[in-house]
Symmetry: C2
Subunit: 316 residues, 2 copies
């Protein structure tokens, strides 16, 4: 995992690396949340399979997803766009129409950025949000007895990516899940209104199993989930059967689903809409060497560091 390897080097180089950990930084003195994610051509997207409009939407949505995981209300974004100088006007206007549409949906303003040349298209977005609750969310707040909840479905984006990059047929909802993910801002807002303590939240942008493993490590608590409870779109199962793919692998490790993984106590869970927040497991004992076990009809698969490093979403 080059990303984690480089992150270690960066942590060791910075005088103050206390902010490095969650996907969003909370700045106490300014009372704001900040996140910054970049999409790179031929790494995160291909111009052969997306449109400028959907690319603009996704560049914003992946950043809003990080704010959702911090239970923040998104307020502002900056956009730094790098592209070849021959790029068509319509590419730029369509890209910004996509950016503008997502911003309108979540009441976010574009406040600046820059435009530069580059060989490949790079879209870097920094998003700023405000606190929505007196309590906060971090991947390190899971506690014994918490139920593990998720929004949405898993593996859909990965199936969409597979179909697009293999030139195979897939239903529109599968393709859309990959090209036009929905940041769970509204779900995060509902959660913010109900919680009465700090809770563990993380988005599953690098895969559900990746998020489970990171939460268990950061919280020093083991987690057990029942794979049969993980929501998977029936069309994804069918797509996997037809194309000889393991849908379990897609659901656990596919990445880019931008769903929320949440750990809350039973009392909070009872106040949430079960159709939106689905229980897939439980937080177990405090453990300095915590584990994640994925139970599948009695067969438990344990996620070790090696399995995590081999399967987590690769940004390189």
């Amino acid at each position: 995992m080059r990303e984690l390897h480089f992150l270690e080097i960066i942590k060791n180089t910075l005088s103050n690396s206390s902010f490095i950990g969650d996907d969003c930084a909370y700045l106490d003195d300014l009372d704001i949340y900040v996140t910054h994610d970049t999409l790179v051509e031929n790494v995160h997207f291909s111009l052969y399979t997306t449109s400028p409009y959907l690319l603009g939407r996704k560049a914003v949505s992946v950043n809003l997803s990080d704010l959702a995981a911090a239970l923040a209300i998104p307020k502002y974004i900056t956009v730094s766009l790098s592209m070849p100088k021959l790029t068509k006007d319509s590419f730029v206007s369509e890209l910004y129409r996509g950016i503008n549409d997502v911003c309108k949906e979540y009441n976010v303003k574009v406040i600046g950025g820059d435009i530069t040349g580059s060989e490949k298209i790079v879209i870097s977005v920094c998003a700023i949000g405000k606190k929505n609750s007196m309590f906060s969310a971090s991947r390190s707040y899971a506690k014994k007895g918490d139920v593990v909840l998720v929004t949405g479905e898993f593996g859909t984006s990965a199936a969409g990516f597979h179909a697009l990059s293999s030139f195979l047929y897939a239903d529109n909802d599968i393709i859309n899940a990959h090209l036009n993910p929905v940041p769970r801002i509204n779900e995060a807002s509902k959660l913010s209104n109900i919680i009465d303590s700090n809770i563990a939240v993380m988005d599953c942008s690098d895969g559900l199993a990746d998020a489970l493993y990171k939460v268990s490590l950061a919280s020093n608590h083991s987690i057990k989930i029942d794979f049969n409870k993980v929501p998977v779109n029936p069309n994804v199962k069918q797509y996997c059967t037809v194309n000889n793919l393991d849908y379990k692998k897609l659901a656990l490790w596919g990445g880019e689903d931008f769903e929320l993984l949440i750990c809350v106590n039973e009392e909070i869970y009872s106040k949430l809409d079960e159709n939106i927040f689905k229980c897939i497991g439980i937080v177990q004992n405090k453990d300095n060497n915590p584990s994640v076990v994925i139970d599948d009809n009695g067969n438990g698969e344990k996620i070790t560091k090696k399995i995590f490093e081999e399967n987590s979403f690769n940004h390189f």
Copy 2:
């Protein structure tokens, strides 16, 4: 000018483009300044002529320069780094050592960002600052009778770029000006402590003449400067003589000097240190079709839109 052309398209596409104008956005409700600038390999730098350490410094400094032009106190940055997966560990640690050193010098904290793969290196930095004065700075605040002040010297960075890219000898201070520019945070802070009204400030990252033209346009006031008062390093003049270059062109249009252009009234000027803030001209009449005239021993050159578009620093 592809950059200005694309900026027009973006302004026309966004529902709310009121923030697009200055290099820094001020967010009234959060009381913060935000800026976001990106350096792209083979557009803004070459790995043949810089070092990872200096590249890290410059990526931060160019953003702090935008905060200086807003008279803001820099507080936080996020860094999004895209690079080939084969990039050496030492490149990453040296880059972040440079980032860390500039941050320490100006009491800035690195609060996050991301790391992704790409074919070429792209470093995108978002910087957040706080207000340092009850008054604000914008390129649109020049008033009749203001004196036009600058910090530092002009053309040095362009001479350094010329030397590096032509494999010619140049003094260290010329090379350093290009590879390791100083953001004028301390000078901006001095200015903040003295002003008693809003003032026009802009950094000259795209050239002195570019900044003069943009301030005159945004403020609807004509500006006249005396080229003989524009500070030019004697080594730059000598470098230009030896290499048959027009030092006037470098000083006016070279770009990347990251000096401040400031318009203040005579009274404020009298309270400033003349060794730091040098007067090069005056703001003239209000004019809906404003002009910038560069006087050089009685020969006045007028900067028209055409001249501006042909000469302004090209980010593509």
